[in-house]
């Protein structure tokens, strides 16, 4: 199977910078803590990321160091944030999606099986395409893991997390295994309970207008982003299929050109050459739309879910606070366990107020980030579409000029 060993300098290409910039424009390059993924290795069923840290913070033994981490360890880190009560008032940066090369591997395998049924040129061409596709998926997964780390590093509170430091510095295997079936089942039930609870909590009207508005907004927004994300994926897939067809057409035109005995042979060869080039541009258009539009929507699908989770936690805390208030009133009325009720009420109040305070800022930051990210991406999308359309136009017009001149 293919081993994509991407060298460090390979990663300092525009792709990653764009990807990073795409979703998080606010990431200040802060000298106190800089994290990136300097290398990655794709093996049969796992990807090994080399996490590279540069820091002036006293917490770390050295100023610059690297460790190798796998996807499960990123998930462990994310889950540790989610489960930490201290961070209940923050939007936890969404976990990167699991690397998925299955589709690409399957295609490569099918190609290998069908090698006998196509010409050598066709086979080489298709192999190159599929390898490029594999590489693109690989780069994306690396980018998404990196974005997660950068978001954590940029967050004023989360960057100080101990688990995060261990993740960055501890150069042995964290012995974090993926969840087994029992744990996955537990998670499933937890989620079911959570959604049910979420509905209950959401039903409680909030006294604070800001949060009430955010709740309504996020609920609808999240659903709409989900829909747009799915539809943009479908649109881009069709675009890729059309580009593939043009590829085949170019090959057949080439064969026709070499075989034809009339004046058409030059004609066919010229058009075949043209389609080869326009096809590459069409494929690039689809790839850029994927990067600037589809990935943006996918990321904000995950972020809006994280924001919803924050609201849920606050809502939960509010309900607990209100229940504690009621319990205190009851206790005072009965004059029984008043002290205990008072302490519970205090704790709930503090928790709720703490979450509310940070949540407000987090949600405002979320909006700022979102608007900036969309702006950047939409501008870049439009610029790239223009660039490619102009490129296509130029190719078509120059070819037409030659063909018309020939007659």
């Amino acid at each position: 199977m293919l081993l994509c060993n991407v060298a460090a300098d390979h990663f300092n290409n525009c792709f990653l910078i764009l990807m990073l910039g795409a979703v998080n424009v606010d990431l200040q390059t802060d000298a106190t803590l800089q994290v990136d993924i300097s290398d990655a290795l794709s093996e049969r069923d796992k990807v090994k990321f080399t996490v590279h840290t540069k820091s002036t913070l006293p917490n770390f033994k050295q100023n610059e160091f690297s460790v190798v981490r796998q996807h499960e360890e990123f998930i462990w880190l994310h889950d540790s944030f989610v489960e930490n009560e201290e961070y209940a008032g923050y939007i936890i940066p969404p976990a990167p999606p699991k690397p998925d090369f299955d589709a690409s591997r399957e295609k490569l395998q099918k190609l290998g099986e069908g090698e006998g049924s196509m010409t050598k040129e066709e086979f080489t061409k298709m192999k190159q395409e599929l390898e490029a596709e594999y590489l693109a998926i690989f780069k994306k997964t690396v980018a998404m893991h990196e974005v997660f780390l950068c978001r954590v590093a940029a967050h004023p509170v989360l960057r100080k997390d101990l688990n995060f430091h261990v993740f960055l510095e501890y150069n042995q295997d964290l012995s974090v295994r993926g969840k087994n079936k029992k744990e996955k089942l537990e998670d499933f039930f937890k989620n079911v309970v959570k959604s049910a609870d979420g509905v209950l909590v959401a039903g409680v009207k909030d006294v604070d207008d800001f949060f009430e508005h955010e709740k309504t907004f996020l609920l609808e927004y999240h659903n709409r982003v989900k829909d747009s994300s799915a539809k943009s994926d479908r649109m881009i897939r069709s675009h890729k299929s059309a580009a593939d067809d043009i590829n085949r057409i170019a090959s057949t035109l080439y064969t026709l050109g070499t075989q034809d005995s009339t004046d058409l042979c030059k004609f066919f060869l010229k058009v075949s050459e043209l389609f080869e080039k326009t096809r590459k541009i069409e494929a690039r258009v689809a790839a850029d739309e994927d990067l600037k539009l589809a990935d943006l929507l996918k990321y904000y699908l995950r972020e809006s879910q994280a924001a919803k989770d924050l609201l849920y936690r606050r809502g939960r805390a509010l309900v607990d606070y209100e229940n504690a208030n009621k319990a205190l009133d009851k206790a005072r009325a009965k004059n029984k366990d008043v002290l205990q009720a008072e302490t519970t009420q205090q704790v709930c109040c503090q928790k709720f107020e703490k979450i509310s305070e940070s949540a407000k800022q987090e949600l405002i930051d979320f909006k700022t980030r979102r608007v900036a990210a969309f702006r950047k991406n939409l501008v870049e999308l439009a610029e790239l579409e223009l660039k490619h359309a102009k490129g296509n136009l130029q190719l078509l017009q120059s070819c037409l000029g030659v063909l018309k001149g020939d007659t």
Partner: protein
């Protein structure tokens, strides 16, 4: 003269032997008979048959006149008229083809400048239910003298077109003329129309058919001989046309198959037609290759049409979704930009749809037409084989009659002898006619193929340039749309 006939006779006897042996051996053993192929005789009349490019190399068995297997099958001793000869085909002298095939054609074209416009329009449904059919208006505008008026309108239905094609094919194909095939029948398409489904797919079907019928008529009248044909004139001019009944079961392809069946039988008979004229062999191979590639290209273009239509639908769906997203976005400037994005995508989806129509009507249909045309071309080559076989059969018969006559001369039966002599004269005539027909069809085919290739070059050039122009238009529109959107995106504050 006599030497020619003698060698023909020699050949025909060998042919007879080949055929008989093949029959005997095939009935005896399932595998192909392996006869010892000894080449005979130094005095061969035609080119040697060891051409590696010979299309029929695998299909033939050669027999030497002196081979021992021959003895038990032929009766009596060898006829004195036979001279041993290599089993090759004697093809007509080459000087017949000194005159360029194009010259004939150019003369015909210059006589009458090609001024005729035909349009097929206004499809109308007549009747109800399963007996319903579509009627198309056929308008001919022309200044040509063979037409009675300079503008004629008639109403025709699909089976009328099929009927016209079947008449023209039966009249001209055996002469080597490439008769453009009529469009294919479509049971599914027509049933939808009959049942009265007014949806997009049946509208598209009718439009596709209308366009195909128009192209069919234009190609037919472009052929100088077909343009003058009375059936064509009647089709274009007369208000009433006798209903073509036989086409109910036949389609264009069906007719081609029928006409070619006889030619297929010839191919299966393992006769080796040694092409002394390399032109025919070369051309057949070229058309074979062209057929393969055009079919492949057609399939790829059909796939492109399908994916572009899909892209258009998915883009429209995304546009709606983006509009919804814009609505729910609470940052005003971003909300507006997202709505603008939705509008751009909506315009783009229309662009994709238009482009897919161009893909289809320009390229895909052209390719489909040419795949069918090449079947007609291949059919015409087969007709030539058929003519050759007929000629060879006549030679065989002549030889038989001569042998019969020779025997009768010794038997002293004067009336039978007279009959035999008469028959010989009859068959001599047939042999001469066969040779003439073969020469004529060969000449016709050369001219037809020349004309066909010229048309093909013109057609493809025109269509591909038009197609590229449509692609240019699409890109120009895309540029316009994105240029309008860019400031909107930048305005997000």
């Amino acid at each position: 003269e006599t030497s020619k006939y003698r060698s023909l006779a020699g050949f025909s006897s060998v042919l007879f032997v080949v055929l008989s042996l093949v029959k005997v051996f095939l009935s005896q053993s399932p595998e192909a008979a392996c006869l010892s192929a000894e080449d005979i005789s130094p005095s061969s009349n035609g080119p040697r048959d060891d051409d590696p490019d010979d299309l029929f190399a695998e299909a033939t068995e050669e027999v030497s006149l002196d081979s021992p297997e021959r003895q038990p099958i032929l009766s009596d001793g060898p006829s004195p008229a036979i001279t041993p000869v290599t089993p090759v085909m004697i093809s007509p002298r080459v000087d017949v083809f000194d005159r360029s095939p194009d010259q004939d054609e150019d003369e015909e074209e210059n006589r009458d400048t090609f001024d005729i416009q035909i349009s097929v329009s206004d499809p109308e449904k007549v009747g109800d239910g399963m007996n319903a059919y579509m009627v198309y208006k056929v308008t001919t505008k022309t200044s040509l003298s063979i037409f009675s008026r300079d503008e004629v309108c008639v109403k025709r239905r699909f089976s009328d077109f099929l009927g016209l094609y079947s008449k023209l094919a039966s009249k001209y194909m055996h002469m080597g003329y490439i008769v453009p095939p009529a469009p294919e029948k479509s049971i599914v398409g027509m049933t939808k129309v009959k049942v009265g489904k007014e949806d997009l797919s049946s509208v598209e079907f009718v439009e596709k058919r209308r366009s195909a019928l128009e192209r069919y008529l234009l190609r037919t009248v472009k052929h100088p001989a077909l343009l003058k044909d009375p059936d064509v004139l009647q089709f274009l001019e007369s208000s009433e046309l006798p209903r073509a009944v036989s086409t109910q079961a036949l389609s264009g392809a069906g007719i081609l198959r029928m006409v070619n069946k006889a030619a297929d039988a010839v191919n299966k008979m393992t006769i080796k037609m040694n092409e002394s004229d390399a032109w025919f062999e070369e051309k057949q191979q070229q058309f074979e290759n062209l057929d393969v590639q055009l079919r492949k290209l057609h399939a790829s273009v059909e796939s492109l049409v399908c994916h572009r239509k899909e892209l258009s639908v998915n883009t429209a769906s995304f546009a709606k979704s983006a509009a919804m997203l814009g609505n729910s976005e609470d940052h005003t400037a971003l909300s507006r930009a997202l709505s603008q994005l939705a509008e751009v995508e909506e315009k783009i989806d229309q662009l994709h749809q238009d482009q897919s129509y161009a893909d289809f009507y320009l390229i895909s249909e052209l390719l489909g037409d040419y795949v069918r045309l090449i079947t007609a071309v291949k059919g015409v080559f087969d007709q030539r084989m058929k003519a050759w076989a007929k000629w060879q059969d006549a030679q065989v018969m002549l030889q038989r009659k001569r042998e019969a006559e020779a025997k009768l001369q010794y038997a002293n039966k004067p009336d039978k002898l007279q009959q035999a002599t008469d028959e010989i004269r009859e068959w001599e005539g047939k042999v001469q006619q066969g040779e003439r027909d073969f020469e004529q069809i060969s000449k016709n085919i050369r001219r037809e193929v020349g004309r066909f290739e010229k048309d093909r070059v013109k057609d493809f050039r025109v269509v591909i340039i038009k197609y590229l122009e449509s692609l240019v238009h699409t890109q120009q529109q895309l540029i316009k749309y994105w240029e309008a959107f860019l400031p909107e995106a930048k305005a997000i504050a």
